[in-house]
Symmetry: C2
Subunit: 407 residues, 2 copies
Amino acid sequence: MSAYHPLTNEESIVLARAIPGFFREGAELDCREIGDGNLNLVFHIRDTESGKSIIIKQALPYAKVVGESWPLSLDRARIEREALQIQHHLCSNLVPEVYSYDDEMAVTVMEDLSDFTIMRHALIEGKTFPHFADHIGAFIARTLFFTSDLAMDPRAKKEQVQRFINPDLCKITEDLIFDDPYKLSDNNNYPAVIEDEAEALRTDAALHLEVALLREKFLTRTEALLHGDLHTGSIFITEESTKVIDPEFAYYGPMGFDIGAVIANLLLNLAGQIGWKADEADRRRHQNWLLQTSLDVWSKFEAEFRKLWDEHAVDPLAHAPGYQDLYIQKVLQDAVGFAGAKMIRRIVGLSHVADIDTIPDETQRERAQRLALSVGKALILNCRKISSIAAIDDIVRTTATDRGETL
Amino acid sequence: MSAYHPLTNEESIVLARAIPGFFREGAELDCREIGDGNLNLVFHIRDTESGKSIIIKQALPYAKVVGESWPLSLDRARIEREALQIQHHLCSNLVPEVYSYDDEMAVTVMEDLSDFTIMRHALIEGKTFPHFADHIGAFIARTLFFTSDLAMDPRAKKEQVQRFINPDLCKITEDLIFDDPYKLSDNNNYPAVIEDEAEALRTDAALHLEVALLREKFLTRTEALLHGDLHTGSIFITEESTKVIDPEFAYYGPMGFDIGAVIANLLLNLAGQIGWKADEADRRRHQNWLLQTSLDVWSKFEAEFRKLWDEHAVDPLAHAPGYQDLYIQKVLQDAVGFAGAKMIRRIVGLSHVADIDTIPDETQRERAQRLALSVGKALILNCRKISSIAAIDDIVRTTATDRGETL
């Protein structure tokens, strides 16, 4: 295969057969394109007899996210593939394995996760996952710590920063999360019934200040190699196992961004449960599991991150008394602020979440939207004052009560 | 000229003649190598009849700063040349013009500043420069503002960050400023008589915490394209004019670092005046000019930066109420901390300043060293509490008084 072109099913099968020792000689391979076609082609290739399978992902040179197409660098396939390899190296049980790749064709051949469910869908159905907080806390702690100056030679880290400069994908985040929701923009997307909320976002000066500070952090802090888009649609899950996929937004940014993404998506689902669980006790039980899991994600991250720091930090001043505590507090405050920004953009911005948008009943959907916006705003407005994760519990419960919702 | 090799005088003259329209056809050109040979060759080429002259600077593939040679990337010549061009574009009267360059040969041909004096030498001689604060304040404000996300398209800024990743030169700063002075290191260099001060630096936990925070900022904040080594040896000056040279340490870092460098070098000279000015009234007058100029550098920077922000900011949230004030306060606190770190390393670290090291009288030299260290520590220990530049005045005066020195 020479110059870049979109793969055919036949070419995908040829790539699949080329993985050394994976498929049997002469195996009959079935190939289906299963992507949504917005940003990437995704081929699922399966040995019809043994059932063994792989995924081939190919980046497309555009995104269809804004109605018409938006050009996107194919280099993002290399960035995603390198990020997957680094994350797999650091958390082999939590990230799919890359079998082979072709950067010119923007192609990555990787482990298939067909046995897993997309976490967002499972959460909408009211499922809970007892190991999720442990798994994702460890993933975040290990991938952030080991790619930071705390654990890397600063020269090697700078070369890694350079390889992960990701302007096209960062621009999507900068526009959709840190700009559009706070002004009139054709990219915004919300029902007329919450125009009052949207207008309030555009005129809230205190909120604009905090979002400006969060935006600045996203633009200027090369703390660690982030996943960059760690929502529950990028997490494949079973009762026992968790896998993090799709790091095409990977770049060096502020650690709190990845943690905030996980918390935001748990809390969006919490708001969405207003429209999903008919039985109130059942609904409240699930919402409380989601809230507790948000806190646990942080706690597991913090415990693991502190342990890694104590055992593996190479920064010559890492053990200065008080430094670790101040560092953790900064990450917590950032995580809370970013969580809020990510909740708001999923309600009024371009790209939404099924947890809320697919709620069948209009009134319940509106209640969920208003609760999500209120929680998002409260997280942003309080993030610089927070010194413990318990504050999130308090903010969510107080905001819900103020809105007449009971958790 | 093909592959990299150190230039000869004859080759330098050929390069000089190739600048279109600069030297007369057939002019007799005199060439002298005037560098100190540590990091670069510097050729001064002059038309013996008209007196017109240029400088040719060539990077060497090593540094002699640590006794034996230390390999250094030749790419730093490209970085220095691109930084000079950006800074000249933004401040044409404050930066020498680049006439031509050859990245493969690590060569830059540029405006000669033979009419200027190196500011450090002039300050040691007790000279004052009434326009210096205005000039350097404008240089810092314009170069930092226009290379930041406040004024650039974030995509173009990211590509610029990528071009200015400068691991070799940053490592020098990271080791010599943010590491060695706080531990036993062969790189450290100070007289036995101040061993008590050196030991105090190695055991001061509160200081280590603040230096850890400053080091982290140096490692992780891509706020603006810094000069990166803005001491008074990188500033050429006359009564009327100021020129900033040698940005080979340029990289994207925290804005306060450049401002702190200027302030540190003014305050090092202030401490050094203990050994230079015999007449006490004269000494105190000069020290007070240096202190006032430190404050003025900040004030000019701040006024110009705020004006540029009001008139030219493109960041969509730049005008959020309160954001500019918080931003300026962060830069001030960083500048004060970095100033302190730079003072300390010039007393106990590898590389010193003539302002203090060449003081003839040993007792006076020691007094100057102790004053510089005390001021440096006080700046670092107080930096996170500072909210106005007047605090520097207070810190310097109080520290001097505590040491029995009168300003």
